[in-house]
Symmetry: C2
Subunit: 195 residues, 2 copies
């Protein structure tokens, strides 16, 4: 089987993406980290709960700074999050470990998104296959499958410990005097605790 690396936060979307891919690839869950906090460990714990290999991927802190400055200028997080996601995919594609790189982007997501042109560009430039197993699933289909296949804990984004980029970006944003609560309004996050 080809080796696949899936960007993994420990949340419900990337965990469901993992279940879709594990039958078809030699799968490793990969959590990007800027080294700002150790929140990637929450993703590792979720990966252990799924019983799937996990590794971390070092991201460039200058990209986090650029993302946070973009968010401050915009007053909302969308473009900054997209910057970070693009960087993580590029890093994963140049990692040389994986034949296939993947993420948990969904049909109904507004951010991050990977267009068909972006996907083909990643593949052509790096000689990898890019796969988004949830790209053809809507919100309702995903919620149904998550309820049937995963044990998750949900809670407000400020307090639930998860492994996604947001935790590190929040810290950097606060350190740089940004209005964290305005830019990242509270929303419900999830962390996977089992199958």
């Amino acid at each position: 089987m080809d080796r696949a690396g899936l960007l993994y936060s420990g949340g419900k979307d990337s965990s469901l993406a993992a279940l879709l891919l594990e039958e078809f690839y030699d799968l490793t869950l990969v959590t990007g980290t800027f080294g700002v906090t150790d929140t990637w460990r929450h993703a590792r714990r979720a990966a252990e709960a799924l019983g799937i290999d996990h590794t971390q991927l070092a991201l460039d802190r200058s990209v986090a700074v650029e993302a946070v400055e973009t968010m401050r200028a915009d007053g909302y997080p969308r473009n900054g999050i997209q910057l970070v996601h693009n960087h993580a995919l590029e890093r994963l594609a140049t990692d040389q470990t994986f034949d296939v790189i993947a993420d948990g982007t969904r049909r109904d997501d507004r951010v991050p998104t990977v267009s068909r042109a972006d996907a083909q560009s990643l593949e052509d430039r790096h000689g990898v296959e890019y796969v988004a197993p949830l790209a053809g699933f809507g919100r309702s289909a995903i919620d149904t499958l998550v309820a049937r296949r995963l044990q998750i804990e949900t809670g407000p984004s400020e307090t639930l410990p998860t492994g996604d980029y947001e935790a590190e970006l929040r810290v950097l944003l606060r350190d740089r005097g940004g209005d964290v609560e305005a830019i990242f309004p509270s929303h419900v996050q999830s962390i996977t605790t089992g199958r």
Copy 2:
């Protein structure tokens, strides 16, 4: 598990879509037919080779006539094929048998396509979930998985017996005096013969 109906031609794409869905749904492969020929039987044979339940779905012959007239007027098949695919999805969604309806449309397909807005409209109007398991897979990723997971036979579209709409549309087009070879240039088709 929820009941899912997947539009199925017996070709490599819809067969790979079936392998992706079978772990998550109570899956039935569904081949649309206008009753013009019995080419749907080739899809049934492919479904038997996969060991997955199969049924046929009666399509409205007036839609086939409209599709063929569209192709004659256009001089190419794209819009006609899209008409037929939309009709098949609508029929599948109103069939009342399935909680989830699905097709084998791929990221890199030009036709048929189902946009996010089309997908959400189908779901909202009919109270079903629409799933396109290959929407996040590019051509290379699909070819790799097909080579690893399926036995397929390939051949020119004019002679290889497959279960897709094209066979019936060719017959109707010829009956109505259309230039079949100009509108459907020869291309490589596939039919699944096993796992």
